[in-house]
Structure formats: structure tokens, C-alpha cells
Amino acid sequence: MQMNDSLKQNEQEVMLAVMRKNSDAYGVSIHEELEKRLKRKVALATIYATLAALEQKGFIKSRKGEASAERGGRAKMYFEITGKGQTALNASLVALDRLRAGTKFAGAMA
């Protein structure tokens, strides 16, 4: 795999959140999904920066959605994972699984 196709941990997390939200993946829903699953605060700015990096790599694509009153009439930006993105994410997670296989956590970590 080329270096450009490798994924950082936050990129994996954001891509998995986008996949989980399916067709409803936009800034706020991704933010809520990450906080719910990771059980920690994630800044919106971090998510936007990650999404921008992923879009530049061609791993996700965006489309403009609908506006609503609670958004001050501003349109949403929906995201979805491309085929290339799915391949990269799968390869990245499989590599982690391979690395983790057979390892044991000792003491308090067990």
C-alpha cells in the first residue's frame, strides 16, 4: 500500500462514524456518533479537518443537502465513503487486527 493510502487513528474513527451513519452522515451526526461510541469529546474542528484530508485523498465524497430553520437556513454537507475509501479502511483495520492477534494484556489491563 502506498503511504498516501495509510490511515491515522482519527481518520479510521471518522470513516467508521460516516459508515455507521450511512446516508445521514454530516457534521453534527458524525460528531454525535463519535462522542456516543468513543465516550469522549471530539471537537467539530477536528472532524472537519479530518474530513477535508480524507476528501483530498479520495476516500470520501461530499454532497450538499437541505437547509433547516434550526441551522439558520444553512444547507448540510453530507459525506459518504468511496470504494477506494472502503478498501483503504478495510486494509487498515485488517492490518491492526493482524498486529493485535495473539497479544495478551497482563495485570490490571486484563
Partner: protein, 168 residues
Amino acid sequence: MKDEISFYIQGDDLLVCVSSRNYIFRDAANAIKANPAAFDAVVENIVESEGNPHIGSHLNLALRELRNSLHHGHNVDIEFTQSEPTSPTPLPNPPQFATYLYAAFAAKNSSESQLGDLEEMFVKNAERFGETRARRLYWLEVGLAIMPAVRRLITGIIAYYLKGKIGL
């Protein structure tokens, strides 16, 4: 704009809220609980009338179907009344200066949707934690977002100043 429709059981009544108007189906709650098909008839008719300004006639039709559905086995007297329009609660506004700062520093092609996300989160936080905390959280998100750009700007100004001083 489409009408938003929600249903509430209020005591013995079925309350149907269409945008800012409330319609009350008197004594319909128990009948609907006993016969869900009657509720489906109401829902179907009101949903069909989305965007129709003469929604009252659709509600009357829904009421008639509701009565028909309840004809067997349920002897209930359902009265249709339309309440006075209620003014919708105004949404709280996020800090304007923070919004201006964000718009000034964010990438132009995505700032519109990002400001929408921030405003949506502000409204949700205001409902959940109150407006004061929601404003603090809004400022925090804006601060975290613009910090790298502000840092770059300050570094650039210092570098420009130093170059001038050294004479490069």
C-alpha cells in the same frame, strides 16, 4: 415549506400539532389505543395533506374515517375542535461575533455548512443545558476551529516584522 405533524395523547384527547396549529380530537385517546387502525387512518389523511393550506378539511376527513373505523365495538363521541394558532417558540441565536470570526477564518467552500452545523449544535445544547452553557460551548468550538489560522496569522506577522528589522 412542509408542515411538521406530531401526535400527542393528552388525557382522553388526541392532540394533533400541524406546524404551529393544534387540532384536538376529543375523547379519541382510549379508542385509538384500543384500535390502532383508527390512528393509522388519521395519520394517513393528515400526511397526505402536507403542504395544503386547507388542512382543516383534511382533518375533518380524518375525523370521519376515525369515526368509521371506530363504528364497530366502540361507542365514543368524538368532537373536532381547532385551537387558536400558537406562535412558535423563537430559536435562540448563537453569539454573532463568534459566527463572524468563524466565517472570516474558515475555508470559504465549506464555511456555510460548518456554520449550519455549529448553529444546529448550539440549538441542541441550548435545549439540553440552557442558553448560557450553549454559548460557552459555541465559543469553545469556534476557538478550537480558528486557533490554527490565528496562530499562522500571528507567526506570519512576527516573521514579517523580524524580516523588516533584520533588513532581509
